[in-house]
């Protein structure tokens, strides 16, 4: 059964006017910022490890392959067992799902740093720190941003699913609630909100950052 576009739009206007849209979007974004933010931080540490040691790189790559092939549902169930019905379930699930996406991109970027440029750095006796800031960071940042862009989209989708369980705020919660009270038009209205949030962050955050950092191209 499909609601009419008109009723979906009316529903959308309603939640915007009542301010409900901000409550739930903010609740979802808050969890994402934690889960996804932690994933980015851990990814950077993994990238650093992969840069410093080839053995670490192999271990990290294998671990990421395992994480990459684990289903969202596994993490949701595990986090419900570990953390119960709380904020931590969506945060932890988001973390576990986005970590392999962001980290494998970054590790690939680290592995792809042009050895010839590093050798140039050796010729001119640049210090380890100078080589890191002048060569390694600029060559891997585009990979990090690409990974974050995909990862954030994934974070939004995943945390919304995890919000079905045990929390009383967030886009996922309110969509599930709308379904239960048979307000199908509201399910669609919230889906629209999600799409808008995703498109806005894509354009305003990640694309803008990528453009700024690769002006030299």
């Amino acid at each position: 059964m499909l609601p009419s576009p008109r009723s979906v739009l009316i529903g959308l206007v309603e939640v915007v006017r009542s301010g409900e849209v901000w409550t739930h979007t903010a609740a979802s974004l808050f969890r994402i910022v934690f889960g996804f933010g932690a994933a980015v931080v851990v990814s950077v540490l993994m990238g650093l490890g992969a840069f410093l040691s080839r053995a670490v790189r192999t271990v990290v790559q294998d671990a990421l392959a395992v994480l990459n092939s684990t289903s969202v549902f596994v993490w949701i169930v595990i986090s419900l067992i570990w953390f119960g019905l709380s904020n931590w379930a969506p945060i932890f699930t988001t973390f576990m799902i986005t970590l392999p996406v962001v980290a494998s991109n970054l590790v690939e970027g680290v592995a792809g740093v042009d050895r010839r440029l590093l050798e140039m750095g050796d010729v001119y006796r640049l210090s380890g720190g100078e080589k890191f800031t002048a060569i390694v960071i600029p060559s891997t940042v585009p990979y990090l941003i690409a990974g974050m862009k995909v990862g954030f989209g994934l974070a939004l989708k995943v945390s919304v699913v995890a919000e079905i369980f045990g929390v009383t705020t967030g886009i996922g919660y309110i969509m599930n609630y709308s379904r239960e009270i048979l307000a199908t038009q509201m399910v669609f209205a919230w889906a629209l909100v999600m799409i808008l949030v995703m498109m806005a962050t894509d354009k305003l955050v990640f694309d803008a950052a990528a453009r700024r950092l690769t002006r030299w191209r």
Partner: protein
Amino acid sequence: MAVTLEVVDVGKDFLIPIIDRVSFTVEAGEFVCLLGPNGCGKTTLLRIIGGLEPPTRGRVVLGGHRVGVVFQEDRLLPWLTVRKNVELVLKPVGLGPTERRETAARYLGMAGLAGFEDYYPGRVSGGMRQRAAIARALAVEPDVLLMDEPFGALDAQNRRIMQREVRRIWRETGRTIVFVTHSIEEAVEIGTTLIMLSARPARIRELIRNDGRVERAKLVDDLNTIIMEEVERQQGGRLA
């Protein structure tokens, strides 16, 4: 004149011997061209001189410790402007920001890049990128400037222009240069000393002072004959 670079019994094995035993000395201000058949170990020898690879045998004695290297590729950082690329290598030399800027400007000007300092490498031609790489190598005021087929990727016209430029820069700065090329014409055109290596494993086959006493055309002919002999010897050796 002072000896600036001494190569003493240098040899290198990569599973098989690449360089057998090579010795020569270079005086300050010389322009040495290393020649030889393809795959004879010219680049390896240059990398050993530059400290990028350890020799299996022998040693390299450098008068000072600063080298500048111009590789086959420009090896500029694409995310830094031409000026910043040069300034970057001046940090370890110990220059302050103002001096770095002045030195970079001076050598970029000498390499014919005045007015292009703030371009990113991707926005200028291959010839200009190689000029920037030369400016970078000169800017550290190296005791010896190593060049590894630096014009290999350039078209014939640019190549000739760059040869003349390098010769001019060499005269202006008085730097010691070791230049690897597979082009005999190029070597005879720009070098003061020509070192012809044998086929692998490399030894010195011929060391020629290119002081104008032998006519250039004859020198090119003679060297071509030698290189063909070496190539034939290598092929004969492989068949045997």
